[in-house]
Amino acid sequence: MTVELERPLEALGAAPELPLTWLRRIVVHREEVLLENGAAPAVPAVQASVAAVVRNPWVGTPATRDLASEVEAVAPRLAVELTDRLLSALGGVDAVEAFGKAAVVGTRGEIEHGGALIHTPWFGNLVREFLDGQSIICFADTRADAGESLVVPMWHKNAAATRSHYQTVSARVPDGPRADEIVVVVAGSTGPRPHARIGDRSTDPTVTAATAATVRPVSTHREDPRP
């Protein structure tokens, strides 16, 4: 999981300079499930989250403050640092099937500050491009003290309604975010849930309030793979 940055920051254009200490810590969390409910996953998948702790550049500014210039400086750099590590953890861009993103804002910031870093094209479009996806990226955000564990939602990077790929992974930085910091997360998965078997839009019957009591779900029974 050693990371060589694949995309030099200069390639992102004349992003404004940042202080050397803008980025404090990066934590990669990778999970590989070998057994779930006693059985190996039919389609093994690896999940990972990458969390970066950055200084909140807007602490102390009023609620009317325009956030654009710092977004332009910070968000593209974060997109590079986070996706390079995610790709290293998951085995490359072709291996990534699902993605998600998140922000944890320290207690002196606004949720809007986290949104500025993850919901604008200077981050979202670049993450989508670097992970070679088409979908909107689903997300979670919160404001919390250091050490908050955040559950990051993910869905399929090209077909968001693919039910087998609805899943989550945790992200946590033990000493972040401090009150004047923001933790920004990108998450990914190489496949579906371990035993995805709740059908899909293609197999669902039409269920309405009038028919729910009588329509039966399509059977998703699988043979038990255990010996």
């Binding site: 999981m1 810590r25 990066i26 999970e31 057994l35 779930e36 945790s170």
Partner: protein
């Protein structure tokens, strides 16, 4: 040995004390979530057969993974056994406090010292701190450090989390006088 999940954490500290850390300080942890081999058996007097059956395999599973995750030679290392609520701490200690477990890591890391350890019992999601010390001289003060870990859904009551930790350096911005200066 039933392994439910393998979790890898790689941590980089790029800033500490308001100053850049160059190169970034790196720590890696690899944890295996396993079924407690003595789960459901009541008080087992002789843990030897279970140790013989699992400890070496666990060391062989985790050591190459933590070396790969760190991506460079470890200068400090440590280990952990976190026992689910239905087990004894002794069960975790049994698996990690044997040369059969630690020698895999010591050999891979060209290490000569014993691995410092945390042993603890707790619910899934319990936070634990793995102590790390220098791989060839446990008195080297710059390398005394610990690393905080939390696995969201482990250990279950009948499980044990067994982990290895490796650091590529001492503490970021370490600047304490050596032990020898006080002797």
């Amino acid at each position: 040995m039933n392994v439910r999940k393998i979790v890898t954490v790689v941590d980089e500290v790029l800033t500490e004390g308001g100053r850049p850390v160059e190169p970034a300080a790196r720590v890696a942890v690899v944890a295996a979530v396993i079924e407690n081999p003595w789960s459901g058996q009541g008080y087992v007097e002789d843990l030897g057969p279970g140790i013989d059956a699992h400890a070496s395999d666990l060391g062989a599973l985790l050591a190459p993974r933590v070396m790969e995750a760190l991506g460079e030679a470890p200068e400090a290392f440590g280990k952990a056994a976190i026992v689910g609520l239905d087990g004894e701490i002794e069960h975790g200690s049994a698996l990690i406090h044997t040369l059969k477990f630690g020698d895999h890591f010591r050999t891979a890391a060209s290490a000569t010292t014993l691995l410092p350890a945390v042993e603890k019992r707790g619910p899934a999601g319990v936070v634990f701190d793995i102590p790390l010390k220098h791989v060839t001289d446990a008195t080297i003060r710059s390398h005394h450090q610990s690393f905080e870990v939390r696995l969201p859904d482990a250990p279950h009551p009948g499980e044990i989390v067994v982990a290895l930790a490796a650091a590529a350096q001492g503490r970021p911005q370490q600047r304490l006088a050596a032990l020898s200066t006080e002797q």
